[in-house]
Symmetry: C2
Subunit: 140 residues, 2 copies
Amino acid sequence: MKTPEELVARFREEGYKVTPQRQLIFRLLNGNTAHPTAETLYEVAAEQMPGISLRTVYQTLSELSAMGEVQHIDLGSGAVRFDPNVDDHHHVVCSTCGVVHDVYVNQTPLQFEGDVEGFAVHSTRIVFSGECAQCAHLSA
Amino acid sequence: MKTPEELVARFREEGYKVTPQRQLIFRLLNGNTAHPTAETLYEVAAEQMPGISLRTVYQTLSELSAMGEVQHIDLGSGAVRFDPNVDDHHHVVCSTCGVVHDVYVNQTPLQFEGDVEGFAVHSTRIVFSGECAQCAHLSA
DNA sequence: TTGCTAGTTCGCACGACTTGTTGATTAGCA
DNA sequence: TGCTAATCAACAAGTCGTGCGAACTAGCAA
Ligand SMILES: [Mn+2]
Ligand SMILES: [Mn+2]
Ligand SMILES: [Zn+2]
Ligand SMILES: [Zn+2]
């Protein structure tokens, strides 16, 4: 994702108004590695801006997603998570606590075999599931 | 997944009753490579057994999943898909028509790097997205 | 064969998540 | 300053899946 300042410029260029709500969401996403849901982002936003609506958070995230500034990640466990890291990366997910971390896989593009003649791969998503160090500690 | 006959035996062994509904679902899943949703499986089931309920299809799929006889695959686009193929395999998905095919990746386990000290990987899921041969033909 | 009973089915309601709508109010920006 | 987009609140709707309770039935024992 671009920096909040760059996003402000981009939004203006594309005819979107730069509202305090949008700017707040830009800042909350900037450098955010928590892979938050719309709901959790809303909760943090509401602390700094009481009155901001969940609807607006969803709306702004959709806009950023459409612009390619954030990606949305569906891990199949409840709500979609949003990720300002749009580099080519993948995720590890702790099955116990749900924490999500970025990982980078370098033996790409992956080779595969199967009955898929002529299939053109555009993107590859890898999710590693398991147990994080903290949860391993607690259960020991 | 085991054969329908084997599943009948397993269900009896574990104290589950062998109902016509369950047997039908066993048969519909046997050798099924379509990666159906509960809904699509229900539609096919209802042709052969009018009156079967969607609730029962969900129920039986949950049981089979808990037994490890089917896996459920969340591609992040709508409903969960069910897969009687429980081998270690992955999937390609056509973004245009939604078709899902099995693929096998052999450079596993995958190496990755990131800030994930002590994370114990239990499973890896890979989804290749792109365009299938049929859809490429149609759009050409 | 009959009858019991625990397990099963079914239909409906509800829940979680996300988007749509409408109408009044606010506020960005040319 | 004025046009117009954006926000908000409130509510509805849509999708996917599950909780619940009444009615039913598979399996077993008498
Ligand atoms: Mn990420
Ligand atoms: Mn499969
Ligand atoms: Zn954990
Ligand atoms: Zn296709």
